[in-house]
Subunit: 285 residues, 6 copies
């Protein structure tokens, strides 16, 4: 069973609204290689696990638990980027208070303004809905681990490209955090395969990103986040039997299972009466 | 952030394998009105919530948290129904130990035997993958609550039909539990709308199922599960401001926020060397 | 605007329930080349029509109007094939009144029993939902007419194959009627292209079905249905400027715009309390 | 069977072309909560209806019949918004007569210019094709009515947001009309549930839109369109047994079954030789 | 079995990058009527062919073989249009060397920059992935040929519209070539139907494009490419039994089976270190 | 450009028809990890390749070329399994000559009998159409190679499970051949990563299948097919710079680039007049 404390795994840094950034960031939420995929893939792999080598199941499940909070982080980041964007001036188009909605919509995902009240959706950067056929859970541990490794590598690769699409601080803080955590999960699955006999040489991390070019990543690397696995278990776990020792990546360092980070507040989104959200304004609640 | 204790929210009752039952039970996992949908819908609605009436957000989030463990329960039930089914006798078809796989496959979802190693998948009873476009999170609280009510009502309705498709005990225990819990969640959203002024009369529960016809539901109703909301929060929650007082259903009773049930063990699935699952048999692990 | 009289365009012939036949007949309703496609394709083509040669628009729209009643006919046929199938004996499996549901479900579309209360769905024979990308409306009249011709030819071709899949009379009566009407619509579009200069020789009808092998088609051919276009317009139409003269098919005959056929009663489906359909049994309505 | 008179249910008000508006208006045609969905959902629900309480079937069918003309209205509105947009200057790019097509395309749905000859498509605002899995027809009357209520509420909610995306008069006239009619259909389904015992209090309409902010809605409300149900039946109907008495919405008024509105002319779209539409220019027709 | 020589079937003409043009050109690659569809449709039709009239199978297969090189041509054209676009100035946004990526992305398919390293994808102009349900292979030769004719006609029609969307030379050279070759394939399938008895009159080509308006087509028409079928067989073929004699189009000319054109070099795309493509820069390869 | 010689890459071994086997074998053709995916994935990766290390491009392209003939092999195998199955006795159901079609259809993919004239389709074992979003071409060579490795490993894994589903000889011969060739391609991509520094230890092949349990694989292993790369280039290629030396799998052996195997005849499928395929029977061709 699953328990919750209302805290985000990283902070939401304030900046201007940016619906075009929100649109592309959806890839990290509902894309083929986004956080919903990682969350559901590791969920199915841990529930479907066979055999006694449960240290691997605990590793996969451990990453799954963190991915739930990644989904929540990206949802909140997208909401922040959309909030107060396309600030329509009231029905009737009097045009006093802000940019007309049609400007915002031109470079936005129109569903952010039609389906959501300027809020996140389970879709990718092209607006395609998340799809269950993307989940890989084939029961063969080596194949599953290799696919997880591709998934985490692609996560970093895509994020290093998404990073270029806006210099918005809200946007880049979240991307920077996720790049480092994807790197840690890449290390987790690479290490698991190392325990099965692989020597990766200097292959990882994939892609070979230069930490100096991503200042938002730097602080997390300085804290060692790329070599840590946060433990969200309220009971025992064998994860440390795999996630330990020297990192399988060429950057080395020691792998370490730790407590989760101190949480950050979940932002409260204001009412949007023009969007009829939440729509209770006349109900005196 | 999300925490986990390795316990199922209900028991897995042992019975014979039944891949045809596993196939139809997929509807309750990856179907349009299944547990993956409820889980993701309430996740998006709680993250995207606007305004100060956060007692409703806490209600929605509270149901979300339970749905994660429902997904886990159905995954494990499907795995149990598939395990040891189509017990192929070893490559080469010597046919000694059990039914040939082709018999099992005739009335099964073939992907249960090709993609999974006889394990659950994120698809519905027809084999269609779960789709993000099903998630309803429109930002208007009344519309969201009404849709949640339709979702939970349809959940019970579909399960009352799926129930007829096999008398397997593993299958029916899980369906019986979920019917009662969907009923509780139906009460939660109906009550939320009651606090906004609706009087439901004798409309609920939908469908009007007769508890005497579902013996697997009886014990949970006797324990009052249809009027309880389990609380998985490690911090404070305003859920009790909504989920309290007389039930909005015609069966009445008092709504009550309680501790989660005592957990049940997560089954360990055995190795399936013929399925190359987990595929470590020669690695001395 | 659209008007309705509660009458079916052909009769529903009684026979035994046959859920396997219902499953394959879905192709004629929600398949790539089924009646929902023809209905929506001609709807879009007539609304999107450009230019003054409106006799072609009226032809396309005329076929569209009939297709609505074809959709209704197939829905009712599927319902008849499903009704009273998988006659579950009441919850609790007492097994007195009929075949257990799990038998019916084995060769059925499970969604017929989970989503519908043994009723039709907007899906194809494989359970894939109807998809808007199938609609062809490209604005070039010749291309549109050629595609319509392929659509109607494929309609007959598929139905001549579906016909083989069951000898159920309910099933074959509807298929027989639709084969002849698809043939008439094939003639309509072939004739339209003939007015633009094509001489089809002996190419049509496609496929070259032998009327003697389809006794259910015979009576309709004897009535000349393969060369008639029913007129559902309450105002004037130029359809007769195209649909006239000698049939473009090798079977010849004169094309004729006529009144619609005398209607047949729409069957009333009985309550299914076990399916909670309509679910009003305790409400004294 | 279905009959037709070539008249639109509301007028097409002339204004400038606006392909960006056409793109977002597709949501009201082919979106998850658009007119194609309402049309097909009520079609399936009325054909699949079980039991003797046929006053509810007649209500659902009555709304279905109007939805066909809504689909036609939105198709024509989109066509008007696209017509003469991206006025390419003739092949070879001489650039004399109008804006180059590439400007129009930048904020447009590119399929409006590639698949259609600047004409409507069965897709949503994001370009995703209409999907049959959206249709809800579960056979339980209460669940069906609740889902219909969510569908109509979401229809108004989305349209109140789409309304903000352009001040084009062609666009807003159609949206204004549809908001009021969706409100009437919301009243129809809310009333049906009221006859089953629900007291809605002040919950409806959802969303709680302010008629004064939508001048295009005002005239229709003044005519009482929000409380009328147009009757498109050529034979008897029991719809008036449900749709009568005081409106279930907080705005009250008397529900009334009436004749359809006087029709408006269906616009004739001009030839577009550059688009090869209809492509008959050299054929002397 | 299939053999390859690294040569393109037409040249890649250099011009400026144009990601908006790349986006719409995707329709010709991964669209419903694009080159991936023609390739796969003719592949299935030739493998699934029944009966002894193998001259038709050889015709279909002959076109299939050319379509593989069309797919390759469009992939390379899209790559050229994307290459060096959104020339980001290095992570950290120093903005010296070129346009910031966010400008490029605004009118681009974002997946061109997230999934691909500024490279082609198997999707259409709206970003929808290529779909196998589009392939038409029904086994009836006449129906298959008619559908192929619609497919090739739609190919030219769409390309004549896509042509208007950019005056980029890289873009228009490829479109011009493909228009003429689609015309040739249209002639191939029209001729095949002519051998079965059809007289097309002046119907073809569809659409009736004016060669003088497409200067990029002119040179290919002057070389007779619209009446040639390139032969990629290394063994015998009966294609010439069908593809011979007078062209079925109103433009006449003699159909001729010929050798493939002289090939053109496949461009080498440079490294993009910022995109981590190919990502080997530190590996001394 | 691509050239063809009408020869299959392996033989079609005769056996009884088996439509249930044809249904599951579709996974190897149109499934997520089937031959259409491998073919298209390597096609896009080779066309989109960046940089000077073209020995890797030539390796990927080399595998692509073979995959086209794998698609053709599976199409022909499915056709053989379907041919003469559901041998309907002629329209009218006289039931003399063979099994009625409805029996065949019960455990078959109904589209094999409705869409195809008992012939292959671009769908998976569950009837879901092939989807372009499955193609992985991200531009980072290491990520691409890792994904290719997962793809080939999953190919073997799935085929080792599909193998169990029928003992039909036509079926198993093709599966046996493909298992060994997937193994060779696995070696190709594993070797490519080895040249980038990885030491795989004893990880491969994945899965760890026992050659003695798959007699149909044995002959190909004896011929060394698991360590060969067939060369389909008519010009030079650098593939041998990568595919050489000791195999990266624990089974060792020397990697070798060789000529393609001697081809096998492509079967001619007989007419099926009842299926209207090819439908020319009355045309004297």
């Amino acid at each position: 069973m699953y328990y919750y404390k209302e805290e985000l795994i990283n902070q939401i840094v304030p900046d201007q609204p940016d619906p075009a950034a929100a649109k592309v960031l959806q890839e990290a939420l509902g894309g083929h290689y986004g956080e919903m995929r990682t969350m559901m893939q590791y969920f199915f792999q841990s529930s479907n696990f066979r055999g006694k080598a449960t240290q691997y199941r605990d590793l996969i499940r451990g990453v799954f638990l963190e991915e739930i909070s990644h989904v929540e982080l990206v949802q909140n980041t997208i909401n922040q980027l959309l909030n107060d964007s396309g600030n329509s001036t009231g029905v009737g188009n009097s045009g006093v208070n802000g940019a007309p909605l049609d400007e915002a919509v031109k470079h936005a995902n129109p569903h952010h303004f039609i389906v959501g009240a300027q809020a996140s959706l389970p879709v990718d950067a092209g607006g395609n809905p998340w799809n269950g056929s993307w989940v890989y859970s084939h029961g063969n541990l080596i194949a599953d681990l290799l696919d997880n490794l591709v998934l985490e590598s692609t996560g970093v690769l895509q994020k290093s490209r998404i990073y270029e699409m806006s210099s918005n601080k809200t946007f880049r803080e979240t991307i920077g955090f996720l790049i480092v955590r994807d790197n840690a999960h890449q290390n987790a699955f690479a290490k698991a395969l190392e325990t099965l006999g692989v020597d990766w040489g200097k292959l990882f991390p994939v892609p070979n990103y230069d930490i100096n070019k991503y200042p938002e990543c730097r602080k997390f690397v300085d804290m060692g986040y790329h070599n840590m696995q946060f433990n969200f278990r309220l009971d025992d776990t064998r994860i440390g039997e795999v996630f330990q020792g020297v990192s399988p990546s060429r950057n080395k360092g020691q792998l370490l299972v730790t407590q989760p980070p101190m949480g950050f507040p979940v932002p409260n989104l204001p009412d949007m009466p023009n969007e009829h959200s939440p729509g209770l304004q006349d109900m005196n609640l």
